[in-house]
């Protein structure tokens, strides 16, 4: 199994899906347990991968390569390095936990878990694929189940949300496909192999195109392709102004799907930029990062936090907090400093665990009270003290409280950004005040205050729910105290990635 560890991790869930499809549709419990068993091996392999990952190497590891469609030079080419390893771990962990968070699904159980497992394969594939064509296939494989999971198992406005999600993402996919083809035809010989595309990055023209408006902006081939890819990825992050699908999708999606959406899918945006835009189009990256990652990321931080403050729906608030927190990732990666880029990728991981917790926590209360109106609760701390305690850990981690994981990544991002863009760093840092504001205000309205008589007899958080939350909570605490548990994995590759772009900075 360890020879093809990444293939196993990627395709085991889809094998589980086949088994689920063969089961009778009314055997709910069996379907759930089969799904849990289908996501467990990837998690165990992820732990094995964590132990055996060479932290000193900046190159690709656990590589598997075979010709696939030789006519077009398409390969089955997968592997991990410091850019993707943390995301692979996160995907394996959240997928496993989310099976348990989906336990309460009782409508179309078979279909739900089958699609979930397909989604798992798609996500894992995106993070391990090193052939651009393969990457795109996985990207699309992941979108389809997501559309159905929101559209069928979602809340009252699920169809609007699902279509909005789909159209936004399709728009992004189209641009991405254009860019992929452009790079394919620009390479010689034509290839989808990412390593070769990177090696040829010097060939992609940077001189201004004789076409309006690119001639005015001084944009060359690289810039145009960069932009097409960027918009595709920015929709996923989601970066302003492409973010409005997120709150709707989150509000309608079932809990586990929200966790996957915020925990894994959003990261694909920033991951894609790091994996593709940075090394393949380094000159354009150097030219455009300030505006489209640095400044836009800072705007995301502040705008997202302000929007979060105005929300009345708890899930929407968490969704907007994601917009805000992903802004830190963008700002950090735009700085091209070791602190900034390491902080950015660490923030991707931390946001996955912290926001995962937040959505799970919202799910716990939604399952009991059947609404998420922030002003409709009050005094939950007295009714559900354990639940409130876990919530406090997640909320304060989200606030970047030192000692918890979010602090490390945010401080690295802001420190890294300071060297390049002092003003952006200051503005980004001011975001922590807003974040504290809306989170504390939320805690006060939902958990503190006099007990709301209506919810006097709400049951305390149960064992299954704790099982999904506690592992994430422990990771949040460990990474706050010992961030090198993840940072060590990232460093070599990310430093090398910086070195590709830095020569192009003017």
């Amino acid at each position: 199994m360890t020879d093809n560890v990444l293939s196993w991790m990627t395709f085991f869930p889809v094998a589980g899906m086949v088994v689920v499809l063969l089961l009778p549709h009314d055997r709910h419990s069996l379907i759930r347990w089969v799904s849990a068993l289908a996501t467990l091996p990837p998690l165990l392999l992820a732990i094995w991968l964590y132990a055996n990952f060479d932290r000193t190497s900046s190159g690709l590891q656990f590589v598997e390569k075979a010709p696939w469609i030789p006519t077009y030079n398409i390969q089955y080419f997968i592997g991990v390095d410091g850019i993707s390893i943390s995301m692979v771990l996160l995907t394996a962990l959240l997928s496993f936990l989310c099976i348990f968070a989906s336990w309460g699904i009782d409508k179309g159980v078979k279909g739900y878990f089958a699609l979930f497992l397909l989604l798992d394969t798609g996500m894992m594939g995106v993070f391990v694929a090193l052939d651009f064509f393969l990457f795109y296939i996985f990207w699309e494989v992941m979108l389809l189940p997501m559309y159905f999971l929101i559209g069928i198992w979602g809340g009252p406005r699920r169809e609007y949300a699902a279509i909005k999600f789909f159209l936004y993402t399709l728009f992004g996919s189209v641009l991405m496909l254009l860019a992929i083809l452009a790079l394919y035809f620009a390479s010689e010989p034509h290839t989808f192999d990412m390593t070769q595309l990177i090696a040829q990055s010097g060939k992609y023209g940077t001189s201004a195109l004789a076409m309006w408006p690119f001639d005015r902006w001084g944009w060359g081939f690289q810039h145009v392709v960069w932009m097409a890819l960027f918009i595709g990825f920015a929709i996923k992050i989601p970066a302003f102004p492409f973010h409005t699908w997120l709150p709707d999708a989150h509000v309608e999606a079932p809990t586990a799907i929200s966790v996957i959406l915020a925990g894994v899918l959003l990261k694909m945006g920033t991951y894609g930029i790091l994996r593709i835009n940075y090394p393949m189009l380094p000159a354009a990256t150097a030219d455009l990062a300030y505006y489209f990652l640095g400044a836009l990321g800072t705007w995301n931080i502040i705008y997202g936090a302000l929007c979060a403050m105005a929300q009345k729906d708890l899930k929407k608030l968490v969704a907007y907090s994601s917009v805000s927190h992903m802004g830190y990732v963008m700002l950090g990666m735009a700085s091209f400093t070791p602190q900034g880029i390491n902080g950015a990728v660490l923030q991707m991981f931390n946001h996955g665990t912290i926001t995962g917790m937040l959505f799970l926590l919202v799910g716990v209360i939604y399952d009991r009270a059947h609404h998420r109106d922030i002003d409709g609760f009050g005094g939950l701390a007295a009714i559900m003290p354990v639940y409130t305690g876990v919530t406090a850990v997640a909320f304060f981690a989200s606030m970047g409280l030192p000692g918890l994981s979010g602090f490390i990544s945010e401080v690295l991002v802001l420190l890294g950004a300071w060297q390049k863009y002092v003003i952006l760093s200051i503005l980004g840092a001011s975001g922590v005040i807003l974040i504290a504001g809306y989170l504390l205000w939320t805690i006060q309205r939902v958990y503190l205050g006099p007990v709301n008589e209506k919810y006097k007899s709400l049951p305390e958080i149960n064992g299954r729910e704790l099982f999904t939350l506690v592992p994430l909570g422990i990771i949040v605490i460990i990474l706050g105290v010992y961030p090198h548990a993840i940072l060590d994995l990232l460093r070599s590759s990310l430093d090398q990635l910086n070195q590709i772009v830095i020569p192009h900075l003017s």
């Binding site: 496909l177 254009l178 690295l412 420190l415 460093r491």
Partner: protein, 680 residues
């Protein structure tokens, strides 16, 4: 100082209270149910006493060393290394942090013990002690952390505990609002603090020595000289950034607003966090980075001015307040102002000295007020007290001693430390007669409002209702013994820092390895004594007015409160309306921005998104019509010729949007590629 002595017990000073917090936090609810509250308080107090004993050991270890070698370190592991940033988890003790850990664990320990009695009837006993322990841990981390980032962990950690304890009785909306206010206002300060760290790190890094460790910063501090950013000195800007943090944590203008509200927390919390320890963190931070502050005369000036302004400003508010704890809260803000005045004239030792004596007498005052509130059944309005002297002798005597100390009565702790600050404010190179005289005016106000409180609470006839009067009682020993110890400290703590006139300060000598020799001020005994007499005389006036007004009743308070048509009194009583102004500008302003953002999302961005989706839908509908009637018409007309082609077209029209898109896409791709190939 080159080779610090590695030890392996300093970590336990910090970590023991964390163990207590973890145990009570995770198991406390169960333990309390099964074994009672005694176990909870034992789990909480034993680690603090352990930390105190280890702190004493550290003190003896330091004393045994040569003054310039008084430096212990305990390095645990590397916390963060990224690029040139290298941050250790390491604790260090030098004479300065030794003073701080003794104050935190010593006075903190007493307050823990007092809480056994004060919190005895509270069901969330375990939660109280969890946060009290967690606070002690964070505070110890703050004063022993060997680098700025680790100190920042403690800095925000104490803020968290402060938030949790202010809102301890969380079912009351007022309490949780006060907690939120404390945390958010402190976040504003922390924002400045972290920027200060960044600026120092990068400025040193550009010269090859990026670091956040105190020792290294001190070693390379000279590199910050002559470095400029935005037309100002880096040292000035960095110290100002850090000072923003100090104004938050130590409740100085303009960020002091959270502290009076913080009195919503249980009284032991007010004593420990909001008087003796946490709020002094800003003073400690400046003292810790004294070498940077001394490089930035402009910052020092700002610190001194903010300090003395806060001292006066808060004192005027304290004159008029009727809530027993609010008076003490404004008094704390005012006294912290004195500490910053000391720090601002580069008399760091004097500031730390006042920090220490203040910890004793202010903790004693707060705990005393807690004892009073306890006896009065929760009443905090001084207008309903009076005559408590006979019913509560221990509380009265200890309170009275502390009032003497804070008012600067000669030979008490507060006298020596405040006098030292005032003297330095006058004579230091950064001082001026103006700073001194403002400080003296503040001392007069302090004497007035503190004696006013003493007389209102303990003297005269009781103004309480009958029921309360019957239930008046002295507090149990577990509360009065800490009071007595603190009262003794309020006097005795001053004697280790005698002025030059009376033989010189051992305290200053102790801190000399940290701050260097105090400024040489030979032949200054004459003026020092004279100034001392002046300030004592002003304080005596304050006392005398309070005596006439509230003891003898010979002078009606209205004589003063009706001055200027009562406008001045209303201004003081309503705290200069600062809360209202902040509410209107910052809170409402932010909420307005928030709602604007949400509105833009819903009505502008989504309008465009939904609009373009709808437009596309209309176009395809129109397309469909076109297909059905125009194309199909032609197709049908030519059906017999091109029957197979018609079938194909029909497939297109019933196909989904996807296939349309991909066809369009393919065409566009092709077009762009052709365009690009030929143009580049």
């Amino acid at each position: 100082m080159d080779q610090p002595i590695q030890t392996d017990y300093l970590r336990w000073i910090v970590l023991l209270p964390l163990l207590g917090a973890a145990t009570n936090g995770l198991l406390g609810a169960q333990l309390q149910k099964r074994f009672g509250k005694g176990l909870i308080s034992t789990i909480a107090i034993a680690p603090v006493l352990g930390s105190f004993l280890l702190s004493v050991r550290a003190l003896f270890d330091l004393v045994a060393l040569q003054p310039e070698q008084r430096f212990l370190i305990d390095r645990l592991y590397t916390w963060i290394t990224t690029g040139s940033l290298n941050v250790d988890v390491a604790f260090w003790i030098d004479p300065l942090s030794a003073v701080m850990i003794l104050v935190v664990t010593g006075i903190g320990g007493l307050i823990h013990i007092y809480s056994i009695g004060y919190m005895h009837d509270d069901n969330s006993y375990w939660r109280f002690f969890t946060f009290l322990n967690l606070f002690t841990f964070a505070m110890l981390l703050l004063v022993t952390g060997d680098n700025l980032l680790l100190v920042f962990v403690g800095w925000e950690g104490v803020g968290l505990c402060s938030y949790a304890l202010i809102g301890f009785w969380y079912q009351d909306h007022v309490n949780t609002t006060a907690g939120n206010k404390a945390f958010i206002v402190n976040r504003v300060g922390d924002f400045g603090f972290i920027l200060g760290i960044f600026l120092i790190f990068w400025t040193l890094d550009h010269q090859g020595h990026g670091t956040v460790s105190f020792r290294e910063i001190q070693k390379f501090a000279s590199l910050l000289k002559n470095q400029e950013i935005w037309g100002g000195g880096v040292a000035t800007l960095a110290t100002l950034f850090l000072f923003v943090g100090a104004t938050g944590k130590s409740a100085q203008i303009p960020l002091y607003v959270w502290l009076p509200d913080a009195m919503q927390g249980p009284t032991p919390v007010s004593a420990l966090i909001h008087a003796a320890t946490m709020v002094t963190a800003g003073v400690y931070m400046i003292a810790r980075l004294h070498f940077l502050y001394s490089m930035a005369p402009l910052t020092l000036e700002v610190v001194a001015v903010i300090g003395v302004a806060t001292a006066l400003f808060a004192a005027t508010i304290a004159l008029t307040q009727n809530d027993i704890k609010r008076v003490l809260a404004y008094s704390t803000i005012s006294q912290l102002g004195y500490m910053f005045l000391g720090a601002g004239v580069a008399a760091y030792g004097a500031a730390i000295f006042h920090l220490m004596t203040h910890a004793f007498f202010k903790a004693c005052l707060f705990l005393g007020s807690g004892s009073v509130i306890h006896a009065m059944g929760g009443e905090q309005d001084m207008g309903k007290m009076g005559g408590l002297r006979s019913a509560m002798p221990y509380t009265f005597w200890t309170f009275a001693i502390s009032v003497l100390a804070i008012a600067g009565t000669p030979l008490t702790g507060g006298f020596f430390s405040k006098d030292e600050i005032l003297w330095q404010a006058f004579s230091s190179a950064h001082g001026s007669p103006l700073l001194w005289s403002l400080g003296v005016v503040g001392a007069g106000l302090t004497a007035f409002y503190m004696f006013r409180q003493l007389f209102l609470v303990f003297f005269g006839n009781s103004r309480a209702d009958h029921h309360t009067q019957e239930h008046l009682h002295e507090s149990p020993k577990v509360m009065t013994v800490p009071l007595v110890i603190l009262a003794i400290g309020s006097i005795a703590a001053g004697w280790i820092g005698l002025p030059e006139v009376f033989g010189g300060s051992q305290f200053a000598e102790w801190l000399e390895p940290v701050f260097g020799k105090p400024h040489e001020m030979a032949a200054s005994e004459g003026p020092e004594l004279l100034l001392m007499i002046c300030s004592v005389a002003v304080a005596a006036v304050g006392f005398f007015i309070a005596y006439l007004m509230y003891y003898r009743g010979a002078l009606a308070p209205e004589r003063f409160s009706s001055l200027a048509g009562g406008a001045l009194y209303r201004l003081f009583y309503n705290k200069y309306y600062v809360d209202e102004i902040y509410q209107a500008i910052f809170v409402r302003g932010t909420l307005l921005l928030a709602r604007t953002g949400a509105w833009i999302d819903q009505h502008i961005i989504d309008f465009i998104v939904d609009g373009s989706a709808k437009t596309t839908a209309y176009i395809s509908w129109f397309n469909g019509l076109f297909d059905n009637y125009v194309i199909d018409g032609i197709v049908n007309a030519l059906a017999n010729i091109t029957f197979w082609a018609g079938g194909k077209f029909r497939k297109v029209q019933t196909g989904n949007i996807n296939s349309y898109l991909y066809v369009i896409l393919g065409a566009v791709v092709l077009a762009i590629i052709v365009r690009l190939r030929y143009s580049s």
